[in-house]
């Protein structure tokens, strides 16, 4: 394994060559990946909103946005601009502090979770040892924000939406965590980088889907429920609850909810790619390709190509799952609240436990294949 490009090292070395001290150059480096990640996540949201509108239109034999920029690419930007300039209304008799705090509490953890999404060996904001656990911890903050905004709106629909969101998030967090736990057990690590590295070497055959097919389905269903995507969009079921906890929001605060939900969806898709589909790995390992073409492992061009291919592969895999989520939106109807809880507690939870147990057994009996 070659270590690939270490941008941080190069950046800091360049700055120290200019005569800056080591500490200052590290300080200058620090905000770069963070801002890049926030920017990337926002652009990812714009792309996914555009895709959502275009694919929805295609599934319904419509055209979708067409005149705002080529193929309507600027439609999400126009939406965003509109929301920025809209009046920010705080309803009478609501709690203004909780009302303002709610959307912030929903968006911040989702953006923070991008900390652990790797696009390459060294292409992530921070290789936290806790990794995937951090994501689960962050995502359990979100229902507090939802409940807060639903309760403070002083509106029955908002309150109901908030309660539903909290109930749904809590019941689907557990199967999600169980699915992740099986992966973690196989990889012997919580770190996302290490989880991907454990899948490397054998190309498409080494990916975790083959060893965790039930875990993957479990994870995907729970992730959809966590994102409140359509088969599970009860908290904002517009036919029953207007827009759930978002009912009273407008302008920038509503934009935060909107942004948050799409950022969360992209994040979930990215994590499916990382946990089950080998993250930045190519279907055919790049080392094998380089050997075939007789290119040495430390070739600079190979490393650049490797890094850009890694980013492309991660995004491609993630956007494939985003596409699947959009297609599912127009395929399956919304479940009832009792069906939702039935599915969560009576199906996903036992299957998740059984999956974990079987993975543990396989790890003991077949240590070479299940990371013993």
């Amino acid at each position: 394994m070659n270590p690939g490009i270490d941008l941080q090292q190069r950046f800091i070395e360049t700055l120290t060559d200019f005569g800056l001290s080591d500490g200052i150059s590290k300080l200058i480096w620090m905000p770069v990946p963070m801002l890049l990640m926030i920017f990337g996540a926002t652009v990812g949201v714009l792309v996914s909103v555009w895709l959502e509108r275009k694919i929805s239109a295609a599934a319904q034999q419509r055209i979708g946005p067409e005149f705002i920029g080529p193929l309507g690419i600027l439609a999400p930007v126009a939406d965003g601009m509109k929301l920025v300039f809209k009046e920010d209304v705080v309803p009478a008799n609501s709690d203004p502090w909780l009302f303002t705090l709610g959307p912030a509490l929903v968006v911040i953890p989702v953006f923070l979770s991008y900390l652990i999404v790797p696009f390459g060996e060294n292409l992530l904001v921070s290789n936290v040892g806790l990794g995937i656990f951090l994501w689960i911890a962050f995502s359990s903050i979100v229902p507090i924000g939802l409940l807060m905004s639903g309760y403070s709106s002083n509106n029955k629909y908002a309150l109901l939406g908030g309660l539903r969101a909290a109930a749904q998030s809590i019941s689907y967090e557990i199967p999600l965590a169980l699915a992740v736990l099986a992966i973690v057990m196989m990889s012997n690590s919580l770190s996302t980088v290490e989880i991907v590295e454990k899948q490397a070497g054998y190309g498409i055959l080494g990916w975790n889907v083959w060893r965790q097919p039930f875990g993957f389905i479990l994870f995907w269903i729970s992730a959809l429920a966590e994102c409140e995507r359509i088969p599970f969009d009860l908290p904002e079921a517009e036919e029953e609850l207007v827009a759930g906890y978002q009912t009273e929001y407008s302008g920038m605060k509503f934009a935060l909810f909107y942004l948050g939900s799409y950022v969360n969806l992209v994040l979930s898709a990215l994590l499916v790619a990382v946990l089950y589909f080998g993250g930045w790995e190519l279907p055919i390992p790049i080392e094998t390709l380089a050997d075939l073409l007789h290119i040495p492992q430390d070739n600079a061009i190979l490393q650049v190509v490797d890094a850009s291919l890694g980013i492309t592969m991660t995004l491609l895999k993630a956007y494939f799952f985003l596409f699947l989520a959009i297609l599912l939106r127009w395929t399956v109807p919304r479940v009832r609240i009792d069906q939702l809880l039935d599915l969560g507690w009576k199906f996903l939870l036992p299957v998740g436990l059984a999956n974990l147990l079987i993975t543990a057994g396989l790890k003991l009996t077949l240590p070479f294949a299940f990371g013993g």
Partner: protein, 205 residues
């Protein structure tokens, strides 16, 4: 124990079935994505109104005899007929005629019953105005003919579903000479005539 295992088996079978149905549904939505959008992009493309379309009423001032039949057959007595009896000619003389299209329901009863055919329906349906009083058309406004969709160089005319050839579901990219499904009225009349002339010798005597 066996009962429990049976239950688990049934549950598993049901889950597989549910997954199968969701898969089928996904294939249907996926298949829809490669079909051409049926959207008619309105200001640039317009459907050609059908032959029996009941749009804005056209009025010919000189034909009107001020009989007020249109007022009587109108569900809400909408047309305003302003006339005066001309003693020299011993005739009613029409001064003004108007219909408020903001109130009209376009049933075309007036057209049906007008004895002199001075009323007729047009294919005009774009009646949006900034002020509802602008919809109160007088005899001059009602005498104007609408611009045909097929004559407008800015507009791509698209045939309605009923006017498409057999088996075609979409009016886009259709050649102008392709006939609609079924016989034309002229062809039906021809057939009728032939059938009548064939049966005439027997029924004649």
């Amino acid at each position: 124990m066996l009962k429990f295992l049976n239950k688990v088996g049934d549950y598993a079978k049901e889950s597989v079935q549910a997954a199968k149905y969701i898969g089928q549904g996904l294939s249907v939505t996926f298949d829809h994505m490669r079909r051409r959008p049926i959207t008619v992009q309105y200001p640039y493309e317009k459907l050609i109104p059908s032959e029996r379309f009941r749009g804005r009423i056209h009025f010919e001032f000189d034909k009107c005899i001020s009989c007020e039949v249109c007022v009587r057959v109108c569900p809400i007595n909408l047309p305003v007929v302003d006339w005066e009896f001309n003693k020299e000619l011993k005739k009613k003389q029409l001064k003004h005629y108007s219909i408020d299209f903001g109130v009209c329901i376009f049933c075309a009863n007036c057209v049906e019953y007008c004895p002199t055919n001075c009323l007729s329906v047009t294919e005009e349906y774009e009646l949006a105005t900034f002020d509802r009083h602008e919809l109160n058309f007088d005899n001059v406004a009602m005498g104007r003919l609408p611009y045909k969709v097929t004559d407008d160089p800015m507009v791509t005319p698209i045939r309605e579903f009923g006017y498409l050839p057999a088996g075609v579901m979409d009016g886009h990219e259709l050649a102008a000479n392709q006939q609609r499904a079924g016989l034309r009225p002229a062809a039906i009349a021809e057939q009728k005539k032939l059938a009548e002339s064939a049966s005439a010798p027997e029924g004649g005597e």
